[in-house]
Amino acid sequence: MDASKPVIRLEREMRPDFLEEIFEIPGGEHIKACIQCGTCSGSCPASPQMEYTPRQIIAMIRAGMRDDVLSSNTIWMCASCYLCQERCPAQIKITDVMYALKRLSVKEGKAPPKAALMAELFVDNINTYGRNSEGLLIMKYYLGKSWGKALSNAGLGMALWKAGRLSAGEVFSPHRIKGIDQLRKIIAKVVEEGVV
C-alpha cells in the first residue's frame, strides 16, 4: 500500500467538468437527472462482469471521477443492448453515454488494449475498404492478440469456413467500394473539422 496516497477521495482529485463534458454530447442531455435508482444496472446483462455498475458510472461522472471511469472495464463491457436506456425513468441515454466514454477512453489511451485494438481494426477496415470484412477483422484481431486464442477459435472458424460463411477471398482480397475516395473525403472532412 502506498502510504502517501490517502484512500479517502479528495475533492481536488475530482473533475467537476466531467459531468458537463458528458452533458454536452448528443444523447447526454438528461444525465443530470439520474436518481440513482439502479434500474440500468439491474437490467444490464453485462453488469455482473463490470467493475462498476452503470448506475455507479453515472454517480462517478457526477462526482468527477474522470480517470476511474475512463479506465474502468465497465464501458467496454457494454454490449449496446439498450435495455438500460429503455427502462431508465429519467430518460438517460445510457448506451450513448457508454459510447461517449469509450471514445474518451480511447482518445486518452485509457482503453484496455484488446477493446481498443478491436475498435481500431474495425475503423481501419472501413477506412480502407468502405466495408467490413468479417473474416479479415477476426483474423487481424486474433493475430494481434494471441496465437493461443486464435487457435482455440480455429475450430469455430473451420466450421464457418465449411459452411461457406468465411471465404478465403474475403480475408485475402476484401471487396473495396467504388466510392472509396468519396468516403475518404467525407472522413477527411470530419477529421479536419475536429469533432470526430
Binding site: 475498435a119 466495408r131 466450421a159 464457418l160 459452411a163 472522413i187 469533432v195
Partner: protein, 289 residues
C-alpha cells in the same frame, strides 16, 4: 409490387450468407423488390460508433444520401439489426441534433453528396409483417409447419431504442410463426442480449448471455430459434459448442433466420439451411426436404 432500397450490410456476404440467400428467395415469393443500394459502405455498427461519433454518422449518412438519390421516397430496408439501428439512429440524430447535422452535411458536401432527411429506415421484418401482411404470408404457405415449436428471438437492436415492436415483449415474430402454422413457445429471453459484438472482445460475458438464451429456449421446449440478425444468429449458432464446453451443457438447437422459416413454409429454395453449424433435429428436419 413494393420496391425498397435494400441495404444488405457487411455480414450478409459472410457469416450471414444464409440470411442473404433466404431473403432473396423469399422476397420473390412475397412479391417485394429489394433494389440493392449501389456501392454502399459499412453502417459503422457498434464498434465504429464506439470510437468515432461524428464519423460514424457521416459514413451512415453517405448511405442515406446515396439511397435518397437512387430511390427518392423509397424506404431504406436493412436486414441486419445492427445496420437497421445504425442507419436509423443517424437518420434520427440528424433531425434531433442540429450541430451534428451541420458537421455531417459539410462532410457529405466534401464528398459531393447531400442528404435531405427524406427517408425512413426500416427493418425487413417490419416490411414483411406490416407491408406484406400476415394474411398474405399465411396464404402463401404451402406447407404448414405444424407441430414445430419455435422460439422467436428478436434480440436488442431491432426493438430498442427505435423498435417497431414491443421492446420488452416483442410479438411480431410470434405472429409470423403462427401465420406459417408453427407454434411459438413462451420465450422470456426474446428481447435480451446475445452478447452482440462482445463475443470478440469479452467472450466470457457474451457466452453467458448466449447460454441463457439457449437455456430459456430449451426450457420452453423449442425445436428451433429464429432470428432477425446475422450477429445474433452467429452468436447463438456458431458459439453453441463453446457454450456447451464452458457450461457443461449439451445444447443442439438449430438457429434459423426468420426468412429461412418462411422459405420452408413456402417450400422454396435456396435457403442456405445447410450453412448452420448446429444441425436440425428431427422436429425441424421433417420440413427440410
Amino acid at each position: 409490387m413494393n420496391t425498397y432500397t435494400y441495404y444488405p450490410g457487411c455480414s450478409m456476404s459472410a457469416t450471414g450468407k444464409a440470411y442473404a440467400e433466404s431473403l432473396e428467395t423469399v422476397a420473390k415469393v412475397l412479391d417485394i423488390r429489394l433494389a440493392e443500394l449501389d456501392d454502399w459502405n459499412c453502417c459503422g455498427a457498434t464498434a465504429y460508433f464506439s470510437v468515432r461519433e461524428t464519423l460514424s454518422h457521416a459514413i451512415s449518412a453517405r448511405n442515406l444520401a446515396l439511397a435518397e438519390a437512387q430511390g427518392p421516397g423509397r424506404d431504406v430496408v436493412a436486414a441486419c439489426s445492427a445496420c437497421y439501428l445504425g442507419l436509423n439512429k443517424t437518420n434520427k440524430y440528424l433531425k434531433e441534433f442540429p450541430e451534428l447535422r451541420k458537421r455531417v452535411d459539410s462532410a457529405l458536401d466534401a464528398g459531393g453528396l447531400k442528404y435531405d432527411g427524406s427517408l425512413e429506415v426500416r427493418h425487413i421484418l417490419e416490411v414483411v409483417v406490416k407491408d406484406v401482411g400476415l394474411e398474405k404470408v399465411a396464404a402463401l404457405t404451402t406447407r404448414k409447419l405444424e407441430g414445430l415449436k419455435v422460439a422467436s428471438y428478436a434480440g436488442c437492436q431491432m426493438v430498442r431504442p427505435y423498435g417497431f415492436d414491443d421492446s420488452e415483449c416483442p410479438v411480431l415474430l410470434d405472429n409470423l410463426v403462427r401465420a406459417v402454422g408453427a407454434t411459438p413457445v413462451p420465450f422470456a429471453m426474446a428481447a435480451r442480449c446475445c452478447g452482440g459484438s462482445q463475443m470478440m472482445t469479452n467472450e466470457d460475458a457474451a457466452l453467458r448471455m448466449t447460454k441463457n438464451i439457449l437455456l430459456c429456449a430449451q426450457d420452453a421446449g423449442a425445436d428451433v430459434i429464429i432470428t432477425t440478425c446475422p450477429l445474433c444468429q452467429m452468436n447463438l449458432d456458431a458459439f453453441q459448442a463453446k457454450v456447451n464446453h464452458a457450461f457443461g451443457t449439451s445444447f443442439n438447437i438449430p438457429i434459423l433466420f426468420f426468412t429461412q422459416l418462411l422459405g420452408l413454409a413456402f417450400q422454396v429454395k435456396p435457403l442456405g439451411i445447410e450453412r448452420g453449424v448446429a444441425k436440425p433435429g428431427p422436429a425441424l428436419a421433417r420440413f427440410i426436404s
